[in-house]
């Protein structure tokens, strides 16, 4: 009898320790990255590191502005492409598609989410790059290799499709049937109900989904690296090459220990990513869990 209770007590402590340890990973990662990027923050400052465009590691000059802009361009393009498509798809799945069609559509969205990033990258190189180089870019600019922020944006957009579709669908499913019925009974048709009732009611959830998708796009590394051109200048058009932060980290790990302060600079890039993504994630998760709780009560 005593032994059973003792076992329960010991295991509960063990589980508590494991839980605390894995949650505190958030803190430990932050501190670890900060400690490692401290040398470069001390040498320059947050302000100069983030706003300077000069990237000359050999002379000890590290300006992250082109990389931040590269990340913003790629992410912006991805969201502009993905949001309308995913919103419409989620609306179609939740409001229009009947049982059978729904059962076909949803698994494909899930299958898409299982495809590894590197495969998206290979697809980008094989399909999107030639498409841009031969068919899209010639209409707008004289010459483009295809390796551009547009290519990165398109590949990223496809990568965040499943995330946005599944979260928006979940949010749309939480909207009470009575609200829709009330609108329909007043003579509104289905689209008017969607426009004036459902979308308005689902807005916080949609915002949360977008914030989450932005943070996913920020951190995506290999697929973007393969199609983006990786040129450390601020892009000025969608056909310019860009160099997002994660690609910078991934591309230079080989040299980082041979040049002074270089490892510190790359860890600073990881720290930047970590902080931005952490904030975005906390915001969207708090919105979503509040929605869930509202539904439960």
């Amino acid at each position: 009898m005593q032994l059973r209770i003792l076992k329960d007590k010991i295991l509960s402590k063990l589980m508590l320790v494991l839980t605390l340890a894995s949650v505190s990973l958030l803190l430990i990662i932050g501190i670890g990255l900060y400690l490692h990027s401290a040398p470069i923050i001390e040498k320059s400052s947050w302000g100069t590191l983030v706003t300077s465009s000069v990237w000359k590691p050999l002379r000890g000059l590290f300006g992250f502005f082109p990389f931040i802009m590269g990340t913003l361009w790629v992410t912006g393009i991805a969201i502009i492409i993905a949001l309308p498509l995913c919103l419409l798809t989620a609306l179609f799945i939740t409001e229009y598609a009947q049982g059978g069609l729904k059962r076909i559509l949803v698994p494909f969205v899930n299958l898409l989410s299982g495809i590894p990033p590197v495969i998206f990258g290979v697809w980008g190189v094989l399909f999107i790059i030639p498409l841009i180089q031969n068919h899209i870019a010639p209409h707008f600019v004289e010459f483009s290799t295809g390796y551009s922020v547009l290519a990165g944006g398109i590949v990223l957009a496809v990568m965040i499709f499943p995330l946005i579709v599944s979260i928006v669908s979940e949010v749309l499913n939480t909207i009470p049937q009575e609200l829709k019925d009330a609108s329909l009974s007043l003579g509104a048709n289905k689209w008017e109900t969607i426009k004036k009732v459902i979308l308005r009611k689902a807005l916080p959830g949609i915002i949360a989904a977008v914030v989450l998708a932005v943070s996913r796009a920020f951190g995506e590394t290999i697929a973007v690296l393969m199609v983006c051109g990786n040129n450390a200048v601020v892009p000025h058009s969608v056909f310019d090459a860009g160099y997002p932060l994660p690609a910078l980290i991934a591309n230079n790990y080989g040299e980082m220990l041979s040049i002074p302060l270089y490892d510190s600079a790359l860890m600073f890039a990881a720290l930047l990513l970590f902080i931005i993504i952490l904030l975005f994630n906390i915001i969207s998760r708090v919105i979503l869990s509040r929605l869930e709780r509202k539904l439960a009560s």
Binding site: S22, I29, C86, I222, P246
Partner: protein, 281 residues
């Protein structure tokens, strides 16, 4: 009046188009990979290690990367299970009742899930530097374990929540301790645990950014935890950046192999999830 109708039809067509694009992109990707990969596919790809270096060599296959990936993804999933099963039980059974605490923990794991693999990779690299070991199989497993813990915890958590409250309560009312109650619950969610394993393994085998710094790369099959190990996604990435055309072709074939592995895993987990939710209702 007419306008309203036209507007609805217009947007309905738009929705169908969007759904076709979103779901069609899956076929486009898989189709492209198959079309490019099949001509370069051969039995040698699966059964031999590369001859003459992975970057320029035209001989042999990528057995080293397949085995390396299985080691890394398998090791990380097993290690992750040892951590995440207790955590999921703790959240659901031990802190039952304190809703704010368990909800906060769930948000924390969701946030951890959102941290990109490149950050886990960089952090894994810091751990390695701190403890003074080189890029190796062990380093890769550690970094990938960090990556899959949130996936495992959140999946297991979802599954445990589908177990009827009464079942656990019945065990407790008969005088069982919470650990004994947990064992009852665990027996109930066996297929769910399998789903979590598949999801974690699928994510682990496809990820590059976390193993880039930590696992290294090698043309040989690793024989100990301290040797560097090749991984399949990294092999694809390296082969594709090679200037030699044949090697690029082998990259396409490797991409095909990885795609097939991941598709099998995803389909299996889909079927399991469906079976499990049928069980529930």
């Amino acid at each position: 009046m007419k306008l309203r109708k036209t507007e609805e039809v217009f947007f309905k067509i738009l929705m169908i188009l969007a759904a076709v694009i979103v779901c069609g992109s899956f076929f486009l990707i898989v189709g492209t990979i198959f079309a490019k990969g099949i001509p370069y596919m051969s039995l040698d790809m699966l059964t031999k290690t590369p001859g003459g270096g992975f970057y320029i060599g035209k001989e042999g296959g990528i057995l080293n990367a397949i085995i390396g990936s299985l080691y890394v993804a398998g090791g990380a999933t097993i290690l992750g299970l040892f951590i995440s099963v207790p955590v999921a039980i703790f959240i659901n059974i031990y802190i039952n009742g304190k809703k704010f605490l368990s909800d906060s923990l769930r948000v924390a794991f969701d946030v951890l899930f959102g941290i990109p693999s490149i950050v886990y990779g960089a952090f894994g690299f810091l751990i390695m530097v701190y403890f003074g070991f080189r890029a190796s199989l062990l380093g890769g497993i550690i970094a990938v374990t960090l990556l899959v813990i949130p996936i495992l915890v959140r999946t297991l958590d979802e599954v445990i929540r589908t177990v009827p409250r009464e079942l656990g309560d019945a065990a407790l009312s008969l005088g069982a301790t919470r650990w004994e109650m947990a064992k009852v619950v665990l027996r109930q969610i066996k297929p769910g645990i399998f789903t979590a394993i598949l999801l974690s393994f699928g994510r682990a085998i496809g990820d590059v950014a976390s193993v880039l710094f930590t696992a290294g790369f090698s043309d040989n099959i690793p024989t100990s935890l301290h040797e560097p190990a090749a991984t399949l996604p990294l092999a694809i990435f390296f082969q594709l950046s090679s200037p030699v055309e044949e090697v690029q072709g082998r990259g396409y074939a490797s991409a095909l192999i990885l795609t097939i592995i991941v598709l099998i895993i995803t389909v299996l987990s889909e079927i399991l999830i469906k079976k499990f939710s049928k069980h529930k209702s």
